[in-house]
Point group: C2
Chain length 212, copies 2
Amino acid sequence: MSRRRELLEFAVLGLLHESPMHGYELRKRLNTALGAFRALSYGSLYPCLRELVGKGWIFEASGEQTGLGSGIAELAVGSRRARIVYELTADGKEHFQDLAESAGPASWDDEEFDVHFAFFARTQAEVRLRILEGRRSRLEERLANIRTASVRNRERLDLYTTALQRHGEESAEREVRWLEELISAERRGITGTTGTTGTTGTTGITHNEPLA
Amino acid sequence: MSRRRELLEFAVLGLLHESPMHGYELRKRLNTALGAFRALSYGSLYPCLRELVGKGWIFEASGEQTGLGSGIAELAVGSRRARIVYELTADGKEHFQDLAESAGPASWDDEEFDVHFAFFARTQAEVRLRILEGRRSRLEERLANIRTASVRNRERLDLYTTALQRHGEESAEREVRWLEELISAERRGITGTTGTTGTTGTTGITHNEPLA
DNA sequence: GTTAGCATGTAAGGAGTTACATGATTTT
DNA sequence: AAAATCATGTAACTCCTTACATGCTAAC
């Protein structure tokens, strides 16, 4: 199973952890809230949901919504089309915790980081710190590369390339600062990241069309 | 042909426009300089090169590098492995110009924008302006979405989600400012974007591991 | 009355990554 | 002497997007 697919499963479990949802809504949330899945198609989502059901991590619950709370799934008798609402099972919750707690080098990547971060509220403080630090050092590597490159190229580049390079450098710098604030807040045991003054680019969030 | 593949072809033509290169180096440049192709594999690149040759946009030239300038392709007799150096044909140059000049809504997307921007030096001023403006309004849409969303959610979100949202918002704001500077510089006819003070996130550059 | 949005799916096809194969050369 | 890097390629497998099919409901 591809890393991307695993990430999708993780994200779905995370969203369902907040509250039960049906596919359509799930997709909307994934498209808007998480940067990684802008442009996720049903052709990806529904098969994924089926698999999660098969694994016993989620189950189909009824469509409570509109009229009569029939209680059983499949067809919401009265009103709109049968909405299949998915809910986490006990196993699903457990599996989600495992995933949230497992932070490796892959988690420092753009997409993974965003998803992990999105579920920080349900992640252990210790793991949060590890992820934030891993992410920071990843960005610092990048910064180092940019800098040596810009030294190496001295004058050789046209103005636009230079502007782009600069832009990237400053973005990375700001994100490092942002992370540093989060890290020190985390170290103080203060989850209250109220200020969040300096921010930046690569949380990938900029690439989102947030909550429509 | 997928949009992504077209973008790759565009990027390859653009890089070869600067100077002839062989596949291995081409890949390095794509992985580092252009954000869109971090993690491009040979399995994608070589087939792409073959197709470009087939279309008559590039051709295989000799591996001048090490020893004897044999002049003919295929095997660099003396030294290292036969390096196939690719070069643009006249048709290729023309086609590249066409692509560089064609700016539609797709060009406002993250990846496309980055690639287009990378070749701005060989793009008409008029087109540059159109792309920058398109990109800006795209980002402004996003900003509007973020803002209405954060109003809608008032208090409902945990601290991390809020921090993330904020971070995204500020990133987008900075990039808009960056674009604005570029746009006004462009309007003044001054290509000299010397200052580039305010920058930000989503040029996607932050997501790069620039020039190794 | 018609368009747009809600809601769930399937099938086909393309596209790209992964993994493998090979071998020279430079660095450690 | 080994390991890393240069250098080119192929094949299979997987995955995802695209497009289609269906039908209800709300808004215009």
